[in-house]
């Protein structure tokens, strides 16, 4: 631990902390745009400059190692004027169409502009980057909103390990690009969308989020991704029960990062193919007198051939009919052939509670240990 003074307060910082880390840990807010706690410091946005006693010019606090006895000022008239100028310049190159922007309400640039009272830029307005790339089904790259903070470039290299994007060209011409400006599918991009997650503006937006609602219209629910065994925490943003976007939020297993399935793979939830009512196979329904159309040939076809049309193999019935039928048939088998003529398969996709009740049903009611799940297959 090292002890330093920030804004007149004695602050303790852990080994390896930066001045920015120490300030944030002490609850002292410093404006910043390119900084991200999980990524290496870049120092490019110049918003987090602080004054350090004994040093002539202000220094970026994100790259400044906290040292014992350091005396730091984070807010002064000079620093505020400097930050205002940085923001003023950023706004001169950024569309101020917040009224229709997908990111409004969650945009870091908008937030700082608000805090500094900047409604427009005092400089001549000129948007440097006008490229709009929507060549894939996952995310849109709308370069006019990009402020070149390089968070996306760093997350892709440092966390994902894909290094699919980099800053191309220099100065006013600079933009975030793939090698040779190829479409993302032709790069090592894994469409994990962690670049979208760390983007402070609307430069990177999920395709499916566009037009689905303002940030403040969304309900956010923290849950667990339904795919692999990593168990990533996800925050699902919905509007009227419909999924708008998925993001990470800082859960134990994954921090705020996700993969392509967790972020872009939940479309199955509201899919029209979802089962809505219990079903009985047509031959059984026919023999029970529930329908008078004889069973179709489709019942004999392999399910790995053509997909059946809706209603081709089964008919919908009420829960009462289905549940009683299940109980009648299972009871008949157990009574005739004993409990070991039954087998149950639980699910690696269902909850602990579901699986607990499943094996209770098999062991407790049917009376067999013929219960397994796909762990071994």
């Amino acid at each position: 631990m090292v002890a330093l003074t920030i804004d007149g307060r004695k602050v303790e910082a852990g080994a390896g902390s930066t001045v920015l880390d120490a300030a944030l840990a002490a609850g002292i807010e410093i404006p910043r745009l390119c900084h991200h706690p999980e990524l290496t410091a870049w120092g490019g946005c110049r918003l987090c400059l602080v004054e350090v006693e004994g040093q002539q010019a202000p220094v970026p606090s994100c790259g400044l190692a906290a040292a014992a006895g350091m005396v730091v000022i984070t807010h002064s008239e000079q620093l505020e004027a400097h930050r205002r100028e940085v923001l003023d310049l950023l706004l001169s190159d950024h569309p101020l169409n917040c009224v229709i922007c997908e990111k409004a309400g969650a945009c870091d640039l908008q937030r700082y502009a608000y805090e500094f009272g900047l409604s427009e830029s005092s400089h001549e307005k000129e948007i440097a980057r006008k490229l709009y790339q929507d060549e894939n089904a996952f995310l849109v790259r709308d370069h006019q909103y990009c402020i070149l903070c390089t968070r996306c470039v760093r997350v892709c290299e440092e966390i994902v390990g894909a290094s699919a994007i980099e800053v191309a060209q220099r100065g006013f011409e600079a933009f975030v690009a793939t090698p040779f400006d190829a479409p993302l599918v032709e790069t090592p991009c894994t469409f994990c969308g962690n670049c979208v997650q760390v983007c402070p503006t609307a430069a990177l937006v999920p395709v499916d989020r566009i037009g689905k609602g303002r940030e403040w219209d969304l309900t956010r629910t923290r849950t667990v991704c339904p795919y692999c065994g990593t168990g990533c925490g996800i925050e699902v943003a919905t509007r009227g029960g419909e999924i708008v976007s998925v993001s990470g939020y800082g859960a134990p297993a994954n921090g705020e990062f996700l993969c392509t399935k967790g972020r872009f793979g939940l479309g199955f939830v509201g899919h029209p193919d979802r089962l809505r009512r219990p079903l009985i196979r047509r031959d059984l329904a026919y023999s029970l007198g529930l329908i008078d159309t004889p069973p179709p040939a489709a019942l004999g076809r392999s399910p790995l051939g053509r997909s059946p049309a809706a209603g081709e193999t089964h008919v919908e019935v009420d829960w009462e009919i289905a549940l009683d039928l299940v109980a009648d048939r299972l009871a008949a088998v157990v009574k005739e052939s004993g409990p070991d003529a039954f087998a149950g398969i639980g699910s690696a996709l269902c909850t602990n509670e579901d699986n607990y009740i499943f094996q209770k049903l098999v062991r407790g009611v049917i009376g067999t240990n013929n219960v397994d799940l796909c762990a071994r297959v």
Partner: protein, 572 residues
């Protein structure tokens, strides 16, 4: 996993074995990437050139099915060159002498001849892993640093094998002989494939154990559950007896169904027509059943065969818990309403339990007000989950063992001692795959996942961006094998085994070594599991060998090319 996901970033040396982590567990691969950026040494052992090899210091490519020899060669090098942790071996383990004697026959040169990996690479991997050497330490000639932390991450490339249990024991030998277990950032870490495969096992959906791994064979355990489940406590002892014999395992059930010994099945959320080996056998088994109930969210390939299909709520529409690969139980919360009349699985099962209990005169208690109430019952009956409640999980997940309400959960296992006391070394020997290649079927088929899809595909193929990215089945083929068969990159080709054949798009390149074909199993129209076999199960775990089947590759005649597809009877 013995250890936790977040510990990986602080590891000094990582051994990734039989896991395409970047595609099957992408977020865990981010931890590996972070570790390598901090200077950790990454060693990948896999016949395929997986995405993580880009960050690896060493990529060992044993011929498919021969890697067991490689691990024995590493063990030999560790023991003979003095890289073992004598203190750990002496204080925490037993059976080392027998292992050491067994390993004498496995000099790195012998292993190299068996697996095709050069002996120097085997020795180097052994040194880096045993000593936990970071890249700088490995290259620099500086004086020996203290032993670093090494971890083993392994996947289905180890377990979906006819000798998977022996392979896992061999990896445990590696960890124990070097003391690379029981500390942070070490361990033997299986990366489990499905969101709650850990939890399903934890909850006793296994034929030999009750929830919390309590043995079916133990009369006291059976009596405890009988008492807890009985509707009327006073009558419990007299009325409710729990079955004593262990049940059938998955593939045994399928075979029993196919030959009529199993007459009825109840399948919850499992599309075995797509995800299990030998789909033709699966279909025959399902059609042989007098009564099949499938509880599902879609009319999957398996549900299509069911007499009754019960519509379930998905993870998005219910409360409950999932347990991840690091034993962390986490709360899921609903964010949507179930479609139509779909209900949570546990609620459906309670309805069935009530009705069936009346008919079979085995009335149990089914009155749960919520999933949280179910978990309270689990905690009361299982000491390793004793301290877990939904209320506690509201703020953060808990890693079991978590025996009491104050217990913080367990980050890594085996800190002071192993579950059985001293860790036992097992002298293991390689065994050939069940179905070796031959002249008629000269290539090795391995199946598995790809980044954009999941299992039988009912979820991911209905997620538009994912299906846009990978819309069709394909086979990875080495250029030599493609040239021999006259198959060109991007064209449709025919892959056949003794059990069936599928038409897939050829992806010709260097991902697979010569002699190997890799086919993802997500695509119903070209189901890879028409080719795999359900024979030669692992003796311990009864797991099929998805990673090794003999196949042949053929060019398609013009009239047959076009869309991908599959067929049951093998072609002439």
């Amino acid at each position: 996993m013995t250890n936790s996901i977040r510990e990986i970033r602080d590891t000094d040396c990582i051994l990734v074995i039989g896991s395409n982590t970047g595609e099957a567990h992408p977020v865990i691969s981010y931890e590996v990437v972070r570790a390598t950026r901090r200077g950790a040494t990454l060693i990948v052992i896999d016949p395929r050139k997986i995405s993580l090899t880009r960050h690896a210091a060493l990529h060992l490519r044993p011929a498919p099915g021969t890697d067991h020899a490689l691990y024995l060669g590493m063990l030999n090098a560790i023991v003979t060159r003095g890289w073992l942790d004598r203190e750990f071996v002496g204080g925490r383990t037993e059976g080392f002498e027998a292992l050491a004697a067994h390993l004498e026959a496995w000099a790195p040169e012998v292993a190299a001849a068996a697996c095709g990996v050069p002996a120097e690479q085997i020795v180097e991997a052994a040194r880096l892993y045993a000593l936990g050497l970071r890249r700088t330490a490995a290259e620099g000639g500086e004086s020996a640093p203290p032993r670093g932390a090494s971890t083993i991450l392994y996947g289905m490339g180890i377990t979906e094998r006819s000798n998977g249990t022996e392979l896992v024991k061999t990896l445990a030998n590696l960890a124990m002989v070097t003391g690379q277990i029981g500390r942070p950032s070490t361990g033997v870490n299986p990366l489990r494939g499905q969101v709650n495969v850990q939890g399903g096992c934890d909850m006793g959906c296994l034929p030999n154990v009750y929830p919390g791994y309590q043995q079916v064979a133990d009369p006291a355990v059976r009596a405890k559950f009988a008492r807890a489940w009985a509707q009327r406590q006073s009558q419990a002892g007299r009325e409710l007896t729990m079955p004593e014999a262990p049940g059938l395992t998955f593939i045994e059930m399928i075979r029993a169904a196919a030959d009529g010994r199993i007459r009825a099945m109840y399948i919850m959320g499992q599309n075995l027509m797509m995800t299990n080996p030998d789909a033709t056998l699966m279909e025959r088994a399902m059609r042989s059943l007098e009564f099949l109930v499938v509880q599902e969210i879609f009319l999957t390939e398996t549900a299509q065969l069911a007499h009754v299909v019960l519509p379930a709520a998905s993870f998005a529409e219910k409360s409950g818990t999932f347990t991840n690969t690091e034993r962390r139980m986490q709360l899921i919360r609903p964010f949507a309403r179930p479609p139509g009349e779909a209900r949570p699985d546990w609620a459906i099962l309670c309805e069935v339990g009530r009705r069936l209990g009346r008919r079979l005169r085995r009335p149990l208690r089914w009155a749960y007000g919520s999933a949280a109430e179910v978990m309270r019952e689990v905690a009361a009956l299982c000491s390793i989950f004793g301290g877990i409640t939904h209320e506690r999980l509201e703020t953060v997940g808990l890693q079991w063992p978590c025996p009491s309400p104050e217990h913080p959960g367990t980050l890594f296992l085996h800190a002071e001692q192993f579950s059985r006391g001293r860790g036992r070394f097992h002298a293991t020997s390689p065994a050939p795959p069940f179905e070796p290649t031959d002249d008629a079927y000269p290539l090795v088929l391995s199946t598995g996942r790809i980044l954009y899809h999941y299992n039988g595909g009912p979820m991911t193929r209905r997620a538009a961006p994912l299906d846009w990215r990978e819309p069709r089945a394909y086979a990875e083929i080495h250029p030599d094998d493609a040239a021999r068969a006259g198959v060109r990159d991007g064209q449709a080709c025919l892959v056949s085994s003794r059990r069936g054949s599928i038409r897939v798009q050829a992806r010709v390149g260097g991902v697979v070594p010569p002699g190997m074909i890799y086919v993802p199993f997500h695509f119903r129209e070209a189901a890879a599991n028409l080719l795999t076999h359900a024979d030669g199960l692992d003796a311990g775990a009864k797991t099929p060998e998805f990673k090794f089947a003999a196949v042949r590759l053929e060019r398609l005649r013009a009239e047959r090319s076009g869309a991908a597809g599959g067929s049951h009877p093998p072609p002439e």
